[in-house]
Symmetry: C2
Subunit: 214 residues, 2 copies
Amino acid sequence: MSASRQPGKTATPLVSERREEILALAAKIFADKGYASTTVREIADAAGILSGSLYHHFDSKEAMLDEIMHGFLDHIVAQYRATVAAGGDPLDVLRALIREAFSSLGGNPAALAVMINEFNFLVQFPRFAYLREGAEETERLWSGVIEEGMRTGVFRTDIDARMIYRFMRDTIWISVRWYRPDGKYSPEEIADFYVAMLLDGLATGGSTDTGGAT
Amino acid sequence: MSASRQPGKTATPLVSERREEILALAAKIFADKGYASTTVREIADAAGILSGSLYHHFDSKEAMLDEIMHGFLDHIVAQYRATVAAGGDPLDVLRALIREAFSSLGGNPAALAVMINEFNFLVQFPRFAYLREGAEETERLWSGVIEEGMRTGVFRTDIDARMIYRFMRDTIWISVRWYRPDGKYSPEEIADFYVAMLLDGLATGGSTDTGGAT
DNA sequence: GTCTATATTGAGATAGAC
DNA sequence: GTCTATCTCAATATAGAC
């Protein structure tokens, strides 16, 4: 388990492994019970130490949450940025974005769940204001691709691009609530199902009659 | 505001109006801050009374949550049941279900938000086990319609029906997080956008190539 | 139905020994 | 890096007067 440690160098890594371990445990518990309902004692128990000892690694319970959120958000936004920057056919770019979003399920499901569950509450506090920035940049990136696809004619234009974005974002991310790593489908398969449904629709024939909203 | 009160009868209604008022206030705060992060004092403040006085109306904070959840779930499940029982073309039934789900946005958004946010955590406690039953009945009702549509050939059969259900359920319900009553679109319009996208897809041409999952 | 006053518990966090 | 011991505060809930 210490394979990455270089012989001769006596530890003190820039980011302690123990920190990361504890952070991963905390993320899991935050995801399962909710941040507010989680006690520092539970986190300490999971790590096999006493609650007071946690404060050697972290300033506070909130600081743990902050690190989890920051780590997740920075990573995913950087991915989106790179994918959009690479450019290409809007349809392909959108597909790539969707796959990246779904692959967070396999990557760090606990952090994703915490993000989904706590975002709305946390974003109102100054300390977590960066969450809004990340969300807004993500929305700009995704919506930009949709809008480009509308201009070039590959996407339909009769639905608000921002609403399409929201539908997609919510559907993809909230799937962390039912996704199980040992389940029937991998994140990649789920992504492909979703792309298939999103692009071509559920109906077989032309069910162009939406039945209302004239 | 007391239009429903009959003259001559001196109050003592079966369900006190004051209870309902307080419950609505509690639901709003639970929705905004999360159940665990809400204090009984905040609820009392909103109602213009002191925290101790709440216990004249309710046994506990948890009892308030219980009433909110029960009220919401019973109502929506009864609706779904009736709609499915009425029968008809699966495509029309599905459309009706989707509209009903979205109309919860206009009806009782706070209760819906609390349901979405707290479901996963609460369902593990015996007191809230009925949440699972409600969710399962809902899934059976919706999935049944999708499967019938697959049999009769109006829906594509290359995507798992339960996954389709989950995608739909999540997308619709989580929209309570961004829906605003004073916003650009009504729940009915949002429902129609969603139905349009769901049934016919986002792509204009035949983008049958999903690009992977061979 | 609400208030005053308070009991009681459990939470996050700290100080210093080891 | 962890433990022992404890502080402090805030939260739910209660009892009884009005």
